[in-house]
């Protein structure tokens, strides 16, 4: 429970939390995202796609780490593709990168508080927010442990904690379930559903089952372009008995890829 400011309860003036039109982003010299059109609002969106499809590059550009080469990108109604002041948007952003870097000597609590400070949260709100975030990811017992003593899964949960500490309006999680055991993955899906109630969450993952279970919306990209955007049921409906896969969702995924590749080959 926390106090909610007037700004947070005011109605939003923008239609989409994330809106990309003709987005082009370079990763090095390679054009990893090539003409992507995307519109995402409140809810949990799962990002699927083969390796090298540009998922991580998309996450990085949405996190304002990479500047787009071309096209328009709007986050929370603010344009982030020019030389605009990104501080306003970044305050309401939460990001967990695929390569999660951390200060090994900090304890979990100290690192989450440090990230809260970096996100310019008001000073008085930091300790409470950090405690809430740590409890939500289930690390309360390990809050005073140094980060270098954590196992892989706990480290990932600490990363999720720092991403959600400022109650972001846009939450970007790149491979958040790596190293989590099945029970922790179930808890994580519950966390995602909670967050998805009033923010736009984008989860990039290879685990199709997580997407189907927790996401309200599935986005599939391949070779830098949008392949599919729709509900998980729609994804399942794309597949049939003949497609490779051990579950309906995987069959739908393979079917979509096959269609896309066949279409691109024409």
């Amino acid at each position: 429970m926390r106090t909610v400011s007037a700004a947070e309860t005011a109605p939003t003036t923008y239609p989409w939390a994330i809106h990309a039109e003709g987005l082009r982003v370079r990763a090095g010299r390679h054009l990893a995202i090539d003409g992507l059109d995307l519109a995402m609002g409140i809810g949990v969106h799962g990002l699927l796609g083969p390796n090298g499809a540009g998922k991580t590059t998309l996450m990085r550009s949405l996190a304002t780490v990479l500047k787009p080469a071309d096209g328009r990108l709007t986050l929370l109604g603010e344009s982030v593709d020019g030389r605009a002041d990104l501080r306003k948007v970044r305050r309401r952003l939460g990001y967990l990168p695929q390569q999660f870097g951390f200060y090994p000597r900090f304890t979990v609590r100290e690192f989450v508080e440090y990230m809260a400070w970096l996100k310019e949260m008001p000073k008085t709100a930091v300790p409470g927010a950090a405690q809430r975030a740590i409890e939500r990811v289930g690390l309360a017992a390990k809050a005073e442990a140094r980060m270098k003593t954590l196992s892989g899964g706990m480290l990932r949960r600490a990363g999720i904690a720092q991403a959600i500490v400022n109650d972001p309006a846009v939450l970007l999680l790149d491979e958040p379930t790596v190293g989590l055991d099945p029970e922790q993955r179930l808890d994580f899906r519950g966390l995602l559903r909670d967050m998805g109630v009033d923010s736009c969450v984008l989860v990039s993952t290879h685990l199709v089952e997580d997407v189907v279970a927790a996401c309200t919306d599935v986005v599939m990209v391949n070779e830098g372009r949008l392949v599919y955007q729709g509900t998980p049921d729609g994804l399942v409906a794309q597949g049939g008995e003949g497609d490779p896969g051990d579950s309906p969702a995987e069959r739908g995924y393979s079917a979509l890829l096959r269609h896309y590749r066949a279409g691109a080959g024409k």
Binding site: Q99, F102, P104, L150, S151, L155, R156, G159
Partner: protein, 201 residues
Amino acid sequence: MRWLTLYLRSRRVPIALATAGGCTALMWSLWSAFSDDRTVAIPMVVLTLLLMTAALTATLSGPDDALDKTAAFSWLPRRIAHLLAAFLIVTVVLLATRATGARFGPAWLVLRDAAGLLGLTALCAATMGTARAWFLPLGWTLVAIITPLPDRLAGRVLTWQAQAPDNTAAAMTAVLLAFGGLIAYAVAGPARSAPAEAAQH
């Protein structure tokens, strides 16, 4: 030959050699340009040796020591060869300057201090890890340069880096450090570093 190339690249030896060579060239040029004396002052010689040793410290461990330890062959002769090669490189480069316009220190001083400093670095790498292995050689040598204590035996042992080349106490200390470091590093290898890699998957 292939293994040697891969090993040198995994330890980033070419960069280290270039750095060490570059630093020596810099010291040599500075001295030649700014001083009329053909013999380089002893503190500068010791500092150059320290700089070369620091540049070669990073080669004492690779990106993943735990992986290296799983090798089928024994690392002991290879580590010994690594340290001996480092010693040869440092001493040959500095002694080669004796034919040039800025001569680096008495030969015995170069040999003694190179052996002692490399041994101390290897000892620190085996106990504290390669990232911190330059702490003690740097601090100790800086103190020794500023306060050489030639009067008493304890002083000569404690500031061995700055004593005259014919001083037996200093030579003994350097030999002790050299062999101690060689044995410790050859047997134990570099100490394990913190597993920040736990996050990188």
